[in-house]
Each structure stands twice: as C-alpha cells, then as structure tokens.
C-alpha cells in the first residue's frame, strides 16, 4: 500500500475537492484481493442468477406431472438434454430442474429475509439498548435472554402446526428469532463505541441521542453486523431446510432445497441418485459460498487491520 501525502496531492489539483478513500472503499479492495472470497461471491451470484432466471430455461412447469414416467423413473427420468429434463425427474414425474430452481430461490429468500430482519431489528435494538445503558439496557437485554432461552425450533413447529403451514408463517418464525443474537452483538459493539471520544464530541455539541445512534454508532458497528449477517444467511437456510426435511416447511407445489433433499434421500435406494444429488449440490455450494464470503468480509472489515 503506497502512502501518499494528501497535501501534495491537493497541490497538484487545487481547484477540485478530491475524493477521500473511505473505510468501505478500503474494505472492498481488501475483499477482492482475497481469492477464495471472490470466487465464492461469483458462485453466489451465479446461484442467484440460476434461482431467479433459471425458470426461463426450464422446459417444464415445476408442477407439471408426467404420469407416464411414474414408476419408471430410474430408466426414463434420467437427466438428459434431449428430453428437456436437465436434472431428471422426481418420483412423481415432475421436472427436477424447475423444482431445483424454485427450491433454491426459496432457500435464498428465507436466508436473505431472515438476515435482513436481523440486521434492521437486531442492530437498532442492540444499539439503542447499549447506547442508553443502565436500566433500559438491563430490561431490553433480559427480554432477549428470555426469548433466546425458549427452544425456538419447538415453538416454530408448534406455530406451523397451529396456524397452518404457510410461507408467511415460516418467514415470521425465522424473522422472530434471527435478530436475537444480532441484538446482543450490536449491543456489545455499541458499548465500546459509545465511550469513544467522537461520540462524546457529538454529545457535547448537542446532537440528539437518536441522531447519535443513527449517525455515529450504527455506521461504526455496521462492519461487524454485515459479517454476522452473511454468516447468518446459511444458518437460516439450514433451519428452513430442517423444518422442510421434517415435512413442516413449504407446501406443494412450492418446494425448497430442504424438501427436495428430503425427498431425494427417501429415494436413495431406488437408483435415482440425481434426485438427491442436484438439490444437495446447490445446497452445499450455496452454504460454502456464504461462509467464504462471510470470512472474506470479516478479514476485509476487521478493525484491527486498519
């Protein structure tokens, strides 16, 4: 990294205000220097393209049942370009390609939505709790502790059973729990940020507390939050897959990677390995990619590296 003297630069181009290199720009450069993370990011982009545009390539609707294939999957439902079933067919004779596209899309959505809720609710909750401190902090954090102590998988299953299995219920359930640990992380970071002198300077200047949180605290804990959010996405995907694996997740004709893997695993002895292989491939690649991107972000944003 070359050190350059801002004053010397400025003298060369005196008229135009020059652009600063923000910490974000620095982090982005460091991220793209990390090869594994860059490759993982490319893989993620490809998977996202597959999930959202793959439907245009699919030759069949995801809920079209080819009755002629039922029972002879192992011989006639083989993945092939000629028949248009790129990934083969499933047990019911439905096109696995179309179903994998849809399952990947759903799993991605679950992960991203869960982690968005965590970022927005968790960060604000944690920042407010940590910034005000004292009794407010105690009460707000005890609430989080109590919610965390409830076995959430159990509650989620009960909710799905009681209110019926719907996508909305799944989003609500995952959103409800995902922000808890994020709130704790944000609070911890806030505690150290609020004692920095720039926050004191803002208080001494007369900036309002909420403005201080939004302008001075949140941008400075965003680095940690982003890293954690990236690592939270695969966690959410795993939760959803587990629920779907149990048969409580999405309803037919919708599907998710978890449901597909569950179905594929059930057929493992019947000579149709593609039914497990393709969903599993996307599942594993996606999780790996998220973990690598998360690690890359952590290395890029790590404050000790500054």
């Amino acid at each position: 990294m070359a050190f350059h003297d801002p004053t010397a630069d400025a003298l060369q181009a005196p008229a135009r205000p020059d652009k600063g290199r923000s910490l974000w720009t620095d982090a982005r450069r460091r991220f793209f220097r990390n090869r594994a993370a860059t490759v993982a990011l490319v893989a993620l982009v490809l998977i996202a393209v597959f999930a959202f545009l793959g439907g245009f390539i699919a030759q069949y609707e995801r809920d079209y049942v080819d009755f002629s294939l039922i029972g002879i999957n192992a011989t006639k439902g083989v993945p092939s370009i000629a028949t248009g079933h790129y990934f083969g067919t499933d047990q019911e004779g439905r096109d696995l390609f179309a179903r994998t596209v849809q399952g990947t899309r759903l799993s991605l959505l679950i992960g991203v939505v869960g982690s968005m809720v965590a970022v927005i609710v968790g960060t604000l909750y944690g920042a407010i709790s940590g910034y005000f401190g004292g009794r407010v902090d105690s009460v707000m954090m005890r609430v989080v502790d109590i919610l965390l102590s409830i076995p959430f998988m159990f509650v989620l299953i009960l909710m799905l059973v009681m209110f019926g299995r719907s996508l909305l219920m799944l989003f609500i359930g995952i959103g409800l729990i995902s922000w808890l640990s994020m709130a704790r992380i944000a609070r911890g970071q806030t505690l150290s940020i609020k004692n920095k002198e720039f926050v004191e300077a803002a208080i001494a200047t007369g900036v309002r507390p909420l403005t201080i949180i939004l302008r001075h605290v949140v941008p400075n804990l965003l680095g940690v939050v982003i890293v954690y959010a990236t690592l939270l996405i695969p966690e959410m995907i795993i939760y959803e897959s587990f629920i779907s694996f149990l048969g409580l997740g999405v309803q037919e004709p919708n599907t998710s990677l978890g449901a597909l893997i569950s179905r594929g695993a059930g057929q493992i002895g019947n000579g149709v390995p593609w039914q497990l292989g393709f969903p599993l491939f996307f599942f594993v690649v996606m999780l790996f990619a998220f973990f690598f991107v998360g690690d890359g972000l952590r290395d890029a944003i790590d404050p000790k590296d500054r």
Partner: protein, 336 residues
C-alpha cells in the same frame, strides 16, 4: 474587567464504583474525582489547568461541558447550567465547544471531514442552505491551516496534527464563547504541539474566545494561559496569574511541578538539583485525611493530617491550599 462568562463554585464530581463481587444492591463505593473546585473565567481569558494523570483535570472539563453529572454550581453567562431543561441545555451547547486529547479518536471514522466540521452547524441550524454550510466549512478549514479541497477525505487519511486542526475547526464553526481544550496537544509531537498552541493563541486573539486549557505539561500551559490552576487528586492546590505561578510558586506541589520542567540547556540542566517527588498518587477511593498532598509532601506536619487546608490568599491573585505556604520547602532550598 467585565462580568465573568463562567463561574464555577464548589464543583464536585463523584463516581459510583461498584464493589467487586458484591450483590447488585451492595452500596457502591464513592470515588470523588473532583472535590470542590471554584473559579471564575472572564470573556477572552485563558485558564490553564495542570496536574498529573488522575488529578481530575479531564473530569473537570467534562463536568463544565456537562457530559458527566456534577454537583455544585456552574454559571455560564449568568445562567445556572444545572437548572436547564434537556432542550435548553442542548441549545446552550452551541456556546461551549470542546477539543479532545486524542485527535483521531474524536473524529467519526465513517464521516468525511467536511461532514464532521459541519456537524455542529447542521445540528443547531438545520435549515442552513447547503452552499452556505460548504462555504463556512471551507473558510474554517483555511482558517485552521487545512487545504479546503480535502473536505471529502476521511479522518484516517490525516496526520495527528491535521486531525487536531479538524477538531479545532469543528469547535469553532458556531463561534463559541468558551472553548474547553482537554489536553489538546499531549498526543502530538513537539513541533506539531507548537503549531497547534500557536494556532489556538491566534484564534483567541482574533476571536476573543475564553478557554480552559488543560495539560499535564506546565511548559505548554504557561505559554498560552493568563492564569494557571494546579490540581492534585481533584483538589485545587494553587492558582495564580501564569507568570507569578511559575516565578513564585508557594505550594510545595507546584514547586515540584515547576522544578520538573526541563531546562533546554544541558549544562544548566545537569548543574541544577533535581528534587524528585516520591511515591504515587494515592487512590482517590480512599484519599488521605486532611491535606490530600501530605503523603508526599516534604514539609507535612501533624496538622496536615487533621485539618484540610483552606485556600490561603498568599499574594494578589494567588491562592495556595497549604497551611505552611510561607515556610520554605526543604528539598527546594538548593534550587531557589
């Protein structure tokens, strides 16, 4: 002399220190960081505050600014700050600005320099047109010796001295009446220190801002101050006009402080006796009885442990809190 802009009387700051391993309801121990400080400050006057680390200088500054709770009375422009509502207090903060010790830590790393300098302005006058804000920022950057086309840079791209200039620009944008400088130069190296101190002196001459200038380095403080206040363990030791304090210190602690300032001539420096203050600062959790300085004072007598010394008027404008201020200090005799 006109009416004082700042009147502080019997200012005390006490922190609660939770007892380790205690129950939540165990009463916390009291740490008195500042114990009964009083002073007046006239418009345009510079009060230097010196003392070693832990003597409560920074806490005093924070109490005046109002970021730590304090008891006692602080009158600013004749108004009692303690009696202000939260909203009035925010408005009042326009007139009092602060400069911090660690120049980089005092600037939000995610904001551009232009936004940082403009923040007080946009906070108190949110309706100021953007063009005017930008112009004010540029003017101020020029005023404190920064190139105005660096407005879009981030704090980490600047050196310590430049960061301190940014901090000064931010403090000046609202034309405050009082500037609290909390060790503004102790994190800078000596040549930059001189630049920043000279900048502050110039600004004071041109804008007539009153200042409270805190430092642990007497040689810096006497350069800029009209009056100097020496603190030890949160108490006032001695206060006097700057020259008088340096030339004729009466309190033994001040005498030690002055003798510890190095003379920039190796021959003289070698030749003079160097009395050393022994021991450490006592814990402020259990300060010594009577005079707080007695545990390290070379002329402490039994009376010092029993009666806390009041501030004695030892000369016009000079006060010292020592029972025996007019007796010579044993170790200092050779030096005098």
């Amino acid at each position: 002399m006109s009416a004082p802009i700042l009147q502080v009387s019997d200012l005390r700051v006490t922190f609660d220190v939770p007892v380790r391993g205690g129950w939540p309801w165990t009463p916390p121990r009291k740490l008195q960081a500042v114990g009964g400080i009083s002073f007046d400050l006239s418009p345009g006057e510079v009060l230097g505050v010196v003392g070693e680390s832990g003597s409560g200088k920074s806490t005093l500054a924070r109490a005046i600014v109002g970021t730590v709770p304090s008891t006692g009375r602080i009158l600013f422009d004749g108004r009692d700050i303690g009696a202000l509502s939260a909203e009035e207090r925010r408005a009042h903060r326009r007139d009092v600005q602060m400069i911090f010790q660690d120049p980089l830590a005092a600037l939000n790393p995610r904001m551009t320099v232009g936004d940082i300098i403009a923040e007080p302005l946009t906070t108190h006058f949110p309706k100021t047109p953007r063009a005017e804000v930008r112009q004010r920022v540029r003017d101020l950057m020029e005023r404190v010796g920064l190139l105005p086309n660096l407005v879009n840079r981030y704090p980490h791209e600047f050196s310590g001295g430049q960061c301190q200039r940014i901090g000064i620009a931010r403090a000046l944008i609202l034309n405050p009446k009082l500037l609290i400088c909390d060790e503004p130069v102790s994190a800078l190296d000596v040549s930059v220190q001189a630049q920043v101190v000279n900048l502050l002196r110039e600004l004071r001459r041109e804008m007539g801002i009153a200042m409270v200038f805190i430092a642990h380095d007497l040689s810096v403080v006497r350069h800029i101050s009209d009056r100097i206040m020496v603190m030890y363990l949160g108490r006032l030791m001695e206060t006097a006009p700057a020259r008088q304090l340096v030339e004729r210190p009466r309190h033994p602690y001040t005498q030690f402080l002055i003798s510890s300032v190095p003379i920039p001539d190796p021959a003289l420096e070698k030749a003079r006796p160097r009395p050393v203050l022994e021991g450490d600062l006592p814990s402020p959790l259990s300060p010594p009885s009577g005079c707080v300085f007695r545990t390290r004072c070379p002329k402490a007598k039994p009376k010092c442990a029993e009666v806390p010394p009041p501030p004695y008027d030892v000369a016009p404008g000079q006060r010292a809190t020592c029972h025996y201020w007019n007796e010579p200090t044993p170790m200092m005799q050779a030096a005098e």
